[in-house]
Subunit: 226 residues, 2 copies
DNA sequence: CTCCGCATTTGAACTAGTTCAAATCACGCT
DNA sequence: AGCGTGATTTGAACTAGTTCAAATGCGGAG
């Protein structure tokens, strides 16, 4: 590695090239998808040699990780409006919709992105060490969803909920990738139906007198993660 | 294509070769995983040329589909004992454990298998037209789980439940792939915890007087699939 | 100015999935 | 036996991700 200039240092010479290659790659990914964008095409379009691209990026996979980071940034931006709401369900609904909105230009080839990311051995896996930073950022977004909601969430639940919601977001993404309905309306509908339910479940989770099924459900979720 | 001999016809000449290549491929997949098994290695080990392998199998991906079919067959075999039980929860639990047992030799490289299968555009996707047969067989297994359970399942639910359980099985598989615990104990535990819950939920689903949360949950599941 | 060391850049080569046109083979027909 | 036809089989080549040893360029020490 040894290329990332320490923050604050005078911009190293090659950083320009790095930026150029990255921008080009992201543009081509968006235009043609991941699989159909070759490293040679990226290098050509950026006006450098293939090996030069490999000097700055360990692999095509790492370029993909940068793509995820970019999506993540835009997801947060797009979530601003939703984070102005009050109820947990509403906030969550808005943030999930924002996620779908941000990803929608990539639906056609999201499958090939996902195919790489789903492999636990891939650095692009959302659970890998390499994506720790991106994962933290994503979870932080859902922490905002939880912390800012007005009927405050029960203390016990508050600690784990952000990560759970992030997992739910991954689940929605998985559903979305396979959703071939017009403009992914089914995913939109899933979000609209499920988030009020989640909101209610969380709101009631601390009250006594829940039916045993609900109690079991919450207990199950807790158990599975230990 | 034009190679699959119509059932009952005298065995075509090349069928032998096809069998040989397939058997070799499955063995190598089991030994080294999907990615690390090259088409050249398969051809070498089978004593034929690479292009000959491509004469019988459209792609490496198709070999993967055959692998899935094999796993599917073994899953059914391994499920025999569980299908002798009575309660839905117990039956489901046994069948899911059977699935894990059958897959366990492949855990190390399951990620690379999954990475291909998760892509909706891949013929290996469990939702693709190409795997329709394998999918039907898998769903049929869960149909057996449902139909044979002793407090019979509510008519309304019975129609959709097999497919839902199959989806749940996919979910468990996804969890299993990412489960790095010793011998995938966490997945085992997940199954043990979740299946009694599912059993109870189904048993109660037709009774009146459920709490609203449970009602909503069932309604949600139904809605999401339409 | 010149030279050294290091960052940057490159062309060529390697691996692996896939394709293709050209053999080769098996077999029924004359 | 000789031959035509379609099923098999093959070597060579193409594409794309990746690696590597060899340039090239640049900035500071002498």
């Amino acid at each position: 590695m040894g290329t990332s200039s320490p923050a604050g240092a005078p911009p190293a010479h090659g950083e320009r090239t790095r930026e150029l290659i990255l921008r080009t790659a992201l543009r081509l990914f968006a235009e043609r998808g991941y699989e159909r964008t070759t490293m040679r095409a990226i290098a050509d379009a950026a006006g450098v040699s293939v090996s030069n691209a490999y000097y700055y990026f360990r692999s095509k996979d790492q370029l993909l990780q940068e793509f995820y980071a970019e999506i993540q940034r835009r997801h947060r931006e797009e979530s601003a409006e939703a984070l102005g709401r009050t109820g947990l369900g509403d906030r969550l609904r808005g943030v999930l919709h924002a996620g779908v909105t941000v990803m929608s230009p990539y639906h056609d080839f999201a499958g090939s992105f996902l195919g790489v990311a789903i492999n636990p051995r891939s650095p692009s896996s959302p659970f890998s060490v390499e994506s720790a930073a991106a994962r933290e950022a994503a979870i932080a977004l859902f922490r905002d969803v939880v912390e800012g909601s007005k009927p405050a969430v029960d203390r016990q639940v508050r600690a784990d909920l952000p990560e759970l919601l992030w997992l739910a977001h991954l689940g929605v993404t998985l559903y979305w990738v396979h959703d071939m309905s017009y403009e992914q309306d089914r995913t939109r509908r899933l979000i609209d139906l499920a988030t009020p339910f989640v909101g209610r479940l969380i709101r009631l989770s601390r009250l006594p007198g829940m039916c045993p099924i609900t109690t079991d459900l919450l207990w199950l979720v807790r158990k599975v993660r230990s």
